[in-house]
């Protein structure tokens, strides 16, 4: 034990609560700045398409004719570039992450019926 320098630390850790949280039983606490996923307020969207042009991964597509806005969740980097350049400020950052998925989903939103999603919704 004399040579095992970590012995004291291990003994101390044995009588402590685990450092890790029991997710999902214990809900994660999001920080004020955490970039989880992009949300859109379709009522405010003017379909200018600047977000789609500025997106580094082409995750966003905007269709002015059908008044729809779509995002490929698994392409999105959460860089925040889209909501920074949005002139109508209809895009925003939500702190929680999207649900893990086995398929590449595209979330599509239209102005008429507000939300129509193909694939799973963000969590």
């Amino acid at each position: 034990m004399a040579n095992l320098k970590i012995g004291r630390l291990i003994m101390r850790s044995l009588f402590k609560k685990p450092t890790t949280k029991m997710y999902p039983v214990v809900a994660p606490v999001w920080k004020e700045n955490t970039r989880g996923h992009i949300v859109v307020d379709m009522d405010a969207c003017i379909f200018c398409g600047i977000c789609a042009r500025k997106c580094p991964t082409d995750a966003i597509s905007v269709d002015r004719e059908t008044k729809s806005w779509a995002i490929q969740r698994m392409l999105c980097l959460q860089c925040g570039c889209c909501y920074e350049v949005c002139p109508a400020k209809c895009l925003a950052n939500a702190h929680d992450y999207t649900q893990p998925n086995a398929e590449k989903v595209t979330d599509e939103y239209t102005q008429s019926d507000k939300v129509s999603e193909s694939g799973s919704s963000p969590g």
Partner: protein, 359 residues
């Protein structure tokens, strides 16, 4: 002559966090030649400058590496700022320095954990990563991301950190110092750790210079080389002396990184004390048209960034030379003559980041 055998090492191997393949030519238990091959995770990030406008390219360049992502973003911004003659506000330079040093702590702690895992010391690995978690939390609170930050932009940074938050960070760093001191004792004085590291893979100062080693790998062999001394960011106003060790073995490389963590903690506390008030970014107008080469000291060593503008929104070329690309020749030189059992330690102690290397 003993019969020669070739043992493939990687790209999937328990000690390798990233894929590199080595063909180890063995005579009994001794390596006589090592032939490296990379190319498993080339993503063509440099090519994307043709598709992405230069202000947005910073988000892509950060993805060169998941560990020194802030440094890569800063390196890219620095080369564009140099190209366009942009003067960055002093507060932004200080904030960049603080984030870069937090990145260094997080990178070195990750490396220490992986090394502990590499020589089979699981509890040491867990305790090291527990400390690293605190740094990731600071990143999340200040930038919004834990690993990829998207905080640096050409002309400054995207978010400020309040002075209260900075003092809080300084306090957290002070507490971490105490926790890390305990682990330092294990890394540097535990018999089982020393048995795996001392005298293994010795690289002399001459060899390090000849093979162009950079960063902690070179500094552990006595090469006094640290790009931070050129005074970029706020480093010119902070006092520090590069950490250099003379032995050149795996133990020295470990010691340099541990001492650098403490040095980074001191740099952060100095920066928090000295940070000036003011703006954190300037508006950048126009497009880059010239050429510029910038150097940065990433956690793994010196990295080069080259940019060539075309006078439009799209750059003509960018080039990133990462520290691991410089350290692989030194590794290939180190391997012949070592035991097969020491190969994982030798590979790990250059802190290989293959994603960086292949971009």
């Amino acid at each position: 002559m003993a019969k020669r055998t070739i043992i493939p090492f990687g790209p999937q191997h328990p000690v390798l966090p990233e894929p590199i393949h080595l063909d180890l030519v063995m005579e009994d238990e001794t390596v006589v030649e090592a032939i490296p091959s990379i190319g498993f995770i080339h993503r063509g990030l440099e090519k994307l400058v043709e598709k992405n406008e230069w202000p947005e390219m910073v988000y892509v360049i950060e993805r060169v590496c998941g560990i020194c992502s802030f440094g890569h973003g800063w390196g890219y911004c620095k080369t564009i700022e140099g190209n366009m003659g942009v003067e960055v506000p002093p507060r932004a330079e200080y904030l960049r320095t603080i984030w870069a040093e937090l990145g260094r702590i997080h990178s070195h702690l990750l490396w220490l954990g992986l090394t502990a895992d590499g020589f089979g010391f699981e509890s040491l690995f867990m305790h090291t990563w527990k400390i690293r978690e605190t740094i990731l939390d600071i990143f999340e609170e200040t930038t919004g991301g834990r690993v990829i930050f998207s905080i640096c932009k050409v002309g400054g940074v995207r978010k400020d950190i309040s002075n209260e938050k900075l003092s809080e960070i300084s306090e957290i760093i002070g507490n971490l110092k105490v926790e890390l001191s305990e682990l330092t004792d294990v890394f540097l004085n535990d018999v089982s750790v020393k048995n795996r590291l001392v005298g293994v893979g010795v690289m002399t100062k001459e060899e390090a210079v000849e093979f162009g080693a950079v960063g902690p790998t070179a500094r552990a062999s006595g090469v006094d080389n640290d790009v931070r001394r050129d005074g970029h960011g706020a480093y010119g106003e902070l006092s520090f002396v590069p950490i250099v060790e003379a032995e050149g073995d795996c133990y020295a490389r470990c010691k340099v990184r541990i001492r650098e963590i403490f040095q980074s903690m001191n740099l952060i506390r100095q920066a928090v004390k000295q940070i000036p008030c003011g703006a954190v970014s300037v508006v950048v107008k126009g497009n880059p048209s010239g050429e510029y080469v910038g150097r940065m000291e990433q956690p793994r060593g010196e990295a080069y960034y080259y940019s060539k503008g075309s006078g439009t929104k799209f750059l003509e070329r960018i080039r990133v030379r990462t520290p691991t690309a410089a350290n692989i020749p030194a590794l290939v030189h180190l391997l012949p003559g070592c035991d097969l059992a020491d190969v994982p330690m030798l590979v790990l102690t250059i802190d290989p980041c293959i994603s960086c290397t292949e971009r």
